[in-house]
Amino acid sequence: MALSKYVTGVGLVVMLLVGFGIGVIVGPMLMQPSTSADPVWDDIVQRGVIRIGTDPTWPPYQYLDDQNKIIGFEVDIADAIAAELGLDVEWQSVGFDTIITSVAAGTLDLGVSGFSVNAERLETVKFTMPHSITRGQVIMLESKRAELGIGMLDSLADLKDLELTVGTQQGTTEQDELLSAGVSRRDFSDFGAAISDMVSSNPSIDCVYAETPITSSWIGQYADQGIDIVVVFDIPYYPVAFVVNKDAHMFVAKMDGVLADMIASGQIDELRAKWNA
């Protein structure tokens, strides 16, 4: 009786030790998350297709042509990169707000939708090298500018001195800047609504603070209708890049390589000129 108790005790200790030993040896093998450095790139290579999500409501970066095909400045860049990497692309029209989540969840490989690089987004996803830097611009009707008799302004504070009311989109950095400059402001649900208000027959604002490519595309749009809009304030704004999954180290390196070549060879600038972006 006493002996059997002793044997059981020793047996338990031995089993615990053996179990611990196996755990120490096997554990790290099981813990290894993946044998590959970049599962996203492996998937893409295996599929042969990059799944790209975009919201085609942002001319000239991405919008729809007569056949509802997605075209634009960024579309051409992404297509050129894919061609250089020997991969096909599958363009998916999705909601802007869903792109970053989908890329993080792995249901999309690449987000191409005029994404500006910022610290918040970098916590969730990775960015490629920027292909452009947008410009923050205050635009107004040429007739209004002539009436005020002003040229290019040096700072947003000048708008305050001129006692102008500026339209902008709520929740944007433009709004924050106008707020700290103490400029009289009216916030709209989007920049397009602000610009439409500015050119209407009974405007509630004198000018709009927005950024390229919105400003340039709307200026072009109204020029076609014989309405002249001019830029009266112009500063460098945010870098624009493509969005990839945080694990996609290899994928991002491959794309950055091609992008660097495209920037150096002037191909990006050619595309920018072609799309007036």
Partner: protein
Amino acid sequence: MEITQQLLILIGGVTNTLAISIISFLVGILVGLPLAFLRTYEKSLAFLVELFEKIFRGIPELVLMLMFYFGLSFFFPFPFGNAFFTAVFVLGLRSGANQSQIFRGAIRGVGEEQMIAGRSVGLSKLQSIVRVMIPQVFIFSTPGLGSEYALLIKDSAYAFILGIPEIMRSAELIRWNTYDLVTPYVAAAFLYILLTFPISTWLDTWGSRRKKKLGL
């Protein structure tokens, strides 16, 4: 963007709106009908059913949709990474919670004596429900189902936030590609009226006529 192209985009939107609403409506029947009978005849489970209804009826569809899509797609890319699935899942369950209430009212309207009559001729409880109660419950619930369908058509507009090309998203695509910020919304409003008004009105009158004919 040509006007014909805009019309094609909108027609594509109508197809998707109808697909989301009709599938959600059917999911709603599949969920709501059993729940209504459970809540009426299985008092022990009534609490759970009520909890489900309270949760899904108490949270705005937009919140539900974003919560399921953004919350679950990260952990379960399949199937919640699919925006269409998520939209139908959320609207279907929400509609199930609504329809459960509609059916419960109808069960009360049909009356307990129908159930007793069924049992008295030797049908089991389940048989009485399927053969006697359900056919009458449907006729009693047509006005409610009509407005529930109209509600689904309208609520499907929230799916635009997930990028599903239904009517609202189509209008948005046209707005930004034509620089016309107002007309596409007017067109969308017209289409929603066109989709909701005739069907809910027709269901309502069909139900009343049927009820009169059957002497209920």
